[in-house]
Symmetry: C2
């Protein structure tokens, strides 16, 4: 087909459009710019189970030398650049889940909580608002499952006034994680301000506010119908991931096996400062990602960009997350 | 850090959790499963301009032998598999845009329209509903820009009753595209039922319904503040893409330079049956994608999975789209 010939013909035909704008009524100039992003929730099915990824927001901060103690700033900037992300800053994304098994409404991790919402001016702590936008009532939640005891996972357990955010829910916590953070000996050995702060925060939430009304769970057991807890330690002593299965559907919910995948899936040998045991976290990361690649399992990542569901491929010495396409219908 | 030692210590400490569930009030079983996906719109800024990608939905159909005349079904299935998509079917995504330049509210392409919404049972034709969810009133639209005259781009120009969907808007169409589809000689030479159907559809919309009240535009000119029309022919004789710029922000709006990127960005040599001139479409595709890669330009793709904004990298003999991370705030 010869476009040049066709264009010439079309031109020769001299088809005129109607005179312009004569009948267009005058109206006000463009509407004001929107001041809000779309509500950030996204639903998908795993067999008969319905998962809703509900964003808690994202936090961007300057790249500190100490962010990845075993990587140079230049290497981190190169990884950011490779992912088309701006240099010298890092964004951390947060995506708790609401899982409706049909018989139980489960919240999996709870986000940064109301105080972080305030101090970040709404950048994080969006979980309650996005959960409401998705039509979920916190009072209807049967079970809250916690993957590990870092603030971005547990602080959303409480309202701003310190009352339980999910007043009718059983709160399930990894047994090993529970033992570690509730152990006074461990607390006394906390070696830096960050670890001391974590102990204090966890005692405030679980002892002072929740009066230890939690159910510790073991790895290898279901914490809700179809939701199997699996050991993925290193990031914390009791860090837990999950396999969610129903029918032929299966998703690996990795929790924090990697943080931001542009950095830590691409470079599984990097130890983020918040990995409590970097060596074990790395071993876990490589083991889990090799398994995910081999089994072509879908993965849901708490710190993946929203909505956080995808697959993983080997890419050079590391891995790359291939986000699943957004399904516009259920 | 020795997790085994720590676990042993924690175990030895014998910290007990409170008795379980004693105080959990009974309440109804899990809430019903949701029956609707999240509204599929997404906002981002390009300098001072605000773009909202507003999905028109997605269409999944069995993979026909004729879908890509110059590729074998096995090769297409291999491309689908590489993208973690199911074999033997193809999904086409549709993402019109609403662009608020600050002075003009612009709709760029209009989706499959109300008849397709009905026949697809809501799988496509979602643009009006998602536009409403994003807070846009069709009456407030100043300008509708059409990239080319295929049904998924022009059918949304009309309401179900045949009246204009954007009653106060000037409708801008590529001059070359306009000439081609309005030329009776070209229409008489339509070589197959598909082409005949396209002529008929375009005459129904632009002549019968809109009475030719359109403004043809030339390539190399702005069709709205910051929105430059650029020639990317082959898919249709007047197929148009855009460069949207404001301040230091710049996005290449590719329209249909590729359809589904898992297939046609990965395999730029494949000629989809709906590429009117496959050879020219391929030349355009390679030229545009090489430019986008070299300039590290962000790309918005009408047929990319929602929200359709990303970057492009070279990947083997083809290209791969790297979706931009979802920004949970504006």
């Amino acid at each position: 087909m010869d476009l040049t010939r066709r264009d010439a013909l079309a031109g020769a035909a001299g088809i005129a459009a109607a005179p312009l704008l004569a009948n267009i009524p005058a109206h006000a100039a463009a509407v004001p710019l929107a001041d809000k992003q779309a509500p950030s929730f996204y639903r998908y099915k795993v067999g008969d189970i319905q998962v809703t990824a509900v964003s808690d927001g994202a936090n961007t901060f300057p790249l500190a030398d100490s962010f990845v103690p075993n990587a140079k700033k230049d290497e981190i900037n190169a990884a950011l650049d490779k992912a088309f992300q701006p240099k010298d800053k890092v964004t951390i994304y947060f995506a708790p889940l609401v899982i409706n098994t049909g018989s139980k409404l489960v919240v999996l991790d709870t986000g940064n909580g109301p105080e972080a919402f305030k101090s970040s001016k709404g950048a994080v702590g969006q979980f309650p608002a996005n959960m409401a936008a998705a039509g979920f009532d916190p009072k209807a939640v049967d079970t809250v499952v916690i993957s590990h005891f870092h603030g971005d996972h547990v602080n959303g357990l409480l309202n701003a006034d310190g009352t339980p955010a999910f007043p009718n829910a059983e709160i399930l916590v990894p047994a090993t994680e529970w033992k570690f953070w509730m152990d006074d000996g461990e607390m006394s050995r906390a070696s830096n301000d960050r670890m001391k702060g974590l102990f204090k925060n966890n005692r405030n939430i679980f002892e002072a506010a929740l009066k230890k009304k939690v159910t510790p769970y073991e790895w290898g057991k279901e914490v809700a119908p179809g939701l199997l807890a699996v050991e993925t330690v290193g990031h914390t002593p009791g860090h837990t991931s999950y396999v969610l299965s129903s029918g032929s559907g299966k998703v690996f919910i990795q929790s924090d096996v990697t943080n931001n995948p542009y950095l830590f899936a691409a470079n599984p040998g990097w130890h983020a400062f918040f990995d409590q045991d970097g060596d074990i976290a790395e071993k876990t990361r490589r083991r889990v990602y090799d398994m995910i690649v081999a089994e072509k399992l879908q993965v849901q990542g708490f710190h993946y960009p929203f909505p956080g569901i995808g697959n993983v491929v080997k890419d050079g010495d590391g891995y790359r997350v291939v986000p699943a396409p957004w399904n516009t219908s259920l």
